[in-house]
Symmetry: C2
Subunit: 292 residues, 2 copies
C-alpha cells in the first residue's frame, strides 16, 4: 500500500469540496488557482462549474498548472418518462464525453439517475426496475461513443438512500453486473468509481473491489460518515472525523491494483462550505496524510 | 395475493406510529385502546412502552381485546466494547424473549446494533466487520434460548444509512446468510422482518424474498419513502405518499408464502406524530386498503 504520510502527490480535490467558500459559490477558475497554490496535482471538476467558467478557459488553466483530472463530474441521469427525455439525456451525455476528452479526464463519472422527477419531489412513477432498465440501455448507448473517443465511463454506485432520487445503482456488485453485461470483454472502457461514503456500509465491499480488479477501478473518492449525520445530502465529513475506516478500504483498492488518486469529495453546508478555501485545502492535505 | 381493499383484517399497527400524538408521548395502554376502538386486530409494541405501562398490565389488556402481536420491538443491539457489555446485551435479550413469550408475539424483532457508541456520536471504533462478528455471536447465543422458548427471532435488515449507528445487517441477503449459518436446518426459529422502508432500494429484494421462503418471512413492515426525505430517522411517510411500490413487494412476499400482517411502522416527527390517534389510525386503515 502506498505511503501517503509524507506528501500529497496522490491527493485530488473534487471541486464540489470548495465550490462554496464562506457560504458563497466560487468560480471554478478561482478554485483551480487555489488548488495549484496548495501544490495539489489533480482535481475533479463538475460540469456546471466548467460551463459557467467556459470549457476553453478551464482547459487552458488546467494545462497551465499541469493539473490532472482524476475524473469529470458527471454524466448519467439516464432515466426519463418518454423517448424525447431519453434522447435528451443521451445527447447531453455525448457532450459530457466530449468535454471530458477536452479536459483529458481519467474517466467520466456516471451518476445514473433515479425515478424521473423524484429529485424535484414529483416522481413520475414508482417502478425502480424500469429506471434500472433505462440506465442499462443508456449506458450501453453511451459506451459505443465513449469507446470511440477513448473516454472510460465510471459508474458510481450511490448510497441506497439516493436510490429513488439520484441513482438507482446502489452497490458495487450491481455496478459490476452492469459492466459484465455491457462490456463482457473487460478492460477499462466501462468501470466504477468507488466512493467510501456510498459504499463503506456494504458487507460485500471487499469482495466486490477484488472482483472489479485493476482495469475497472477507475476512481476512488473519500470523505467520512458523521454520527450523527444531520442532512441526507450535504453533511459529509472530513476524512478522520467520522466512522469510516478509509485506510482499510484504500488497502482493498490497492490490493486489487488501483494506483490512482484519492479524490476528496465533501458536500457540507454547515461546516466546510462555510470556511475559506485555504483552511479546507490545508485540512484535506493534512488528513490525506493521516486518515486516508 | 390477498385482497386488502374491503377490510383491515391484516393491518397491524406498530405502536411507534402513534407513540406521540399531537407531539406528546402516549402511554401504551391508551394506544391499545385506540387500536381496539378502530377494529385493529394486531399491534407490535416497543419494549420501552411495555416497561413503562407494566408487562402484566399490557399482557392483560391485549388479551382483553383479543389482539395479536405481529412482532415485538425489539431485541438486538448485540455489539459492545468488552465482555461485560456483550453479556449485558445477552442478558437483556433473554428478558426480551421472555416478554415476547408472555405477550404471545409472533416473533421477536432484532435490530442488531452498529458500532458501539456511534448512536451517541462517540463510536468506540471503526471496525464494522467486528460489529458484524459480534452480532453473529450474539444471535447464535440467543437462538438456543429462543428455540427453547419457541420464540422465533426475526432479524430486521435496516437501511444502509443506519449501518454504523443502529444495525450493521443492511440487506436481506446478509440477514439470510446469517440465518443459513446459524440455523442451517431452516424453519422459523430464525428468520427475517422485511420492512419496505429499509429494503425497497435493493435490486436483489425480489430474489432474496424468494430465497427466504415462507418459514423465514416472519414479519412485513410498511410505510413509505418520501422525496425529499428531510430527516434520516423520523421522516417516514404514510403508505401511498412516497415512491415505494408497496403492493409489488407484498406480492413478492405472498408469492413466497407469507400470509401475515402488514405492520405499519411510521416515525414522523413533523407530520403524523403531530396529529391525533384517530386521524392517524383512520388513515392507516384507508391506506392499507388502497396502497398496501
Amino acid at each position: 500500500m502506498r505511503d501517503f504520510s509524507h506528501n500529497h502527490r496522490w491527493l485530488s480535490i473534487n471541486t464540489a469540496t470548495v465550490r462554496k467558500q464562506r457560504g458563497i459559490e466560487q468560480p471554478l477558475t478561482n478554485i483551480i488557482e487555489d488548488c495549484a497554490r496548495h501544490g495539489i496535482r489533480a482535481i475533479s471538476p463538475w460540469r456546471d462549474q466548467v460551463a459557467a467558467a467556459g470549457l476553453a478557459t478551464v482547459s487552458k488553466l488546467i494545462r497551465t498548472h499541469g493539473l490532472a483530472l482524476s475524473g469529470y463530474c458527471r454524466g448519467g441521469m439516464f432515466t426519463a418518462t418518454d423517448g424525447a427525455g431519453l434522447k435528451a439525456a443521451h445527447d447531453d451525455n455525448l457532450r459530457a464525453v466530449d468535454e471530458a476528452c477536452e479536459l483529458h479526464a481519467t474517466c467520466l463519472v456516471l451518476v445514473v439517475g433515479g425515478l424521473p422527477g423524484a429529485l424535484a419531489g414529483h416522481a413520475a412513477h414508482k417502478d425502480i426496475a424500469l429506471s434500472r432498465s433505462q440506465v442499462n440501455d443508456g449506458i450501453a448507448a453511451l459506451l459505443d461513443y465513449a469507446k470511440a473517443h477513448e473516454m472510460p465511463l465510471a459508474i458510481e454506485p450511490l448510497h441506497p438512500m439516493y436510490a429513488f432520487e439520484r441513482a438507482c445503482i446502489n452497490t458495487l456488485e450491481q455496478a459490476l453486473d452492469v459492466c459484465d453485461a455491457l462490456n463482457p470483454s473487460g478492460g477499462s472502457a466501462l468501470g466504477v468509481a468507488v466512493d467510501v461514503y456510498h459504499t463503506a456500509w456494504d458487507p460485500k465491499l471487499e469482495a466486490q473491489i477484488k472482483r472489479a480488479g485493476k482495469d475497472r477501478l477507475l476512481a476512488f473518492h473519500v470523505c467520512d460518515w458523521l454520527t450523527p449525520t444531520t442532512d441526507l445530502l450535504n453533511d459529509r465529513g472530513m476524512m478522520g472525523d467520522g466512522v469510516i475506516d478509509i485506510p482499510r478500504i484504500r488497502g482493498w483498492m490497492e490490493s486489487a491494483g488501483f494506483a490512482g488518486y484519492s479524490e476528496v469529495e465533501i458536500f457540507s453546508s454547515n461546516n466546510w462550505w462555510q470556511k475559506g478555501s485555504s483552511e479546507v485545502l490545508d485540512t484535506c492535505i493534512a488528513r490525506h496524510k493521516t486518515s486516508v
